[in-house]
Amino acid sequence: MKLVPLKLVTIIAIDALEQKIISDIKQCGSKGYTISEVEGEGIHSKHFSDWEGRNIKIETLVKEEVANKILEIISSKYFGKFSIVCFLSTVEVLRPEKFE
């Protein structure tokens, strides 16, 4: 059982961006992702209903190069204009080939 370090990229954004972000991360080379429904507050105050839209959290496990590409694309396409937060952490996986 050999554990290999990979990057976990987490993106929190308004749900309207779901399809776009997914196609972005795929283009950068991500082979999979996991989405959950969340709520949150930041510069923008909390959304209370479907009228105001919801947030989603997208997590994708990728190699470092891919992670950097994703950060670059997300920051250039969405930062400033959209409600979005993005961060990186290091995790360890088995079967690293699954994520390449």
């Binding site: 308004i14 309207a16 209370f48 479907d50 009228w51 105001e52 839209g53």
Partner: protein
């Protein structure tokens, strides 16, 4: 005027809205689960569509074509003048003006339903094909307002054709139009099977939905103070203007008093199902503090309390003239 207000306020449907607003104001923890809101929306849109289709199946082309032209005309023009008023009279910036224009130009399913209930209570019949007008008027205004925003600001949301696709395939249009077509095909006989679900409990379900609308509106009321008197003023002026123009057009198109009132309400009402979703995508820089507040916390309560009786009275007066 107080009398009119009080009479509207004796409807359980309007009172449910008031209760919702009140619950938010006293910071109640009452909250509709998301999926209840979504389920009620699906029900209401589909039920209105299918009922309208059944009634439309009994109408002839000659009855319908004039008012359809009027509906398309108003859908295209309301966002234009709403934009001009908001941008140059009220001095909002162009993106927020366009976002609000989209909401005023599109229609409110709930206001429409409440008007039907109101007319029914008064014993005023109305043309059965009016829900078809609702379906026609939902989308075009939003498209035009987005087009205006793109032209007169440097907003860069989704591409035009993408938004067009999203609006036309959006659940609002789809359920309304799909329901209409199903109603048209099955007609009265087929509808009988499903009317105990789509017709009989409709008003009660609308009542429950308005409780939720009230909850959301209550949260918007705090924005009212921030945005100030200007938004309130124009948030009432524009609906009244559209409602009166709508009355005139519908009278010209040959509708009866009931249908004229419904058409006036379609023109006067502001969208809060289709438009917010579309604007969020297309004009992400627009501030919901303006467009949601104008639509939910100003236009909607005004229309439901004072607006409907006003448009009805005006329609009656116009028909009296003829």
């Amino acid at each position: 005027m107080l009398e009119i207000l009080l009479s509207s306020l004796s409807s359980p449907i309007v009172l449910a809205f008031v209760l919702g607003v009140f619950a938010t104001l006293i910071k109640s923890d009452l909250k509709f689960p998301d999926s209840l809101y979504q389920s009620l929306t699906i029900y209401l849109l589909f039920a209105i569509g299918i009922k309208g289709g059944v009634k439309l199946s009994g109408s002839s082309f000659s009855e319908v074509y004039k008012i359809s032209i009027a509906a398309i005309f108003m859908s295209c023009m309301i966002p234009v003048w709403a934009y001009l008023i908001l941008r140059f009279l009220a001095k909002f910036d162009s993106i927020n003006s366009a976002a609000m224009a989209a909401h005023f130009g599109s229609v409110s399913v709930v206001t429409f339903s409440q008007t039907s209930v109101y007319l029914e209570q008064k014993g005023i019949v109305s043309e059965g094909f009016m829900p078809a007008m609702l379906a026609i008027m939902e989308v075009p205004a939003i498209m035009i307002a987005i087009f205006i925003a793109r032209k007169y600001s440097d907003s860069k949301g989704e591409s035009g054709s993408k938004i067009m696709h999203e609006l036309i395939t959006g659940k609002g249009s789809l359920l309304l139009t799909g329901g209409l077509i199903i109603g048209l095909i099955t007609g009265k006989k087929g509808f009988e099977q499903v009317s105990p679900f789509f017709e009989v409990p409709f008003k009660g379900i609308l009542c429950l939905f308005l409780l939720e609308v009230g909850l959301v509106t209550g949260r918007r009321l705090s924005d009212l103070r921030k945005v100030g008197f200007k938004l309130i003023f124009f948030g009432i002026l524009i609906p009244v203007l559209n409602g009166l123009l709508g009355s005139m057009l519908a009278t010209w198109a040959g509708l009866g008093v009931g249908g004229t009132t419904l058409f006036a309400v379609l023109c006067a009402s502001a969208s809060y199902i289709a438009a917010p979703a579309a604007i969020r995508m297309a004009l992400p820089e627009a501030n919901p503090g303006y467009y949601l507040t104008a639509s939910l916390a100003i236009a909607f309560p005004f229309n439901v309390t004072l607006g409907i009786p006003l448009y009805l009275n005006f329609s009656e007066w116009l028909h009296h003239l003829n």
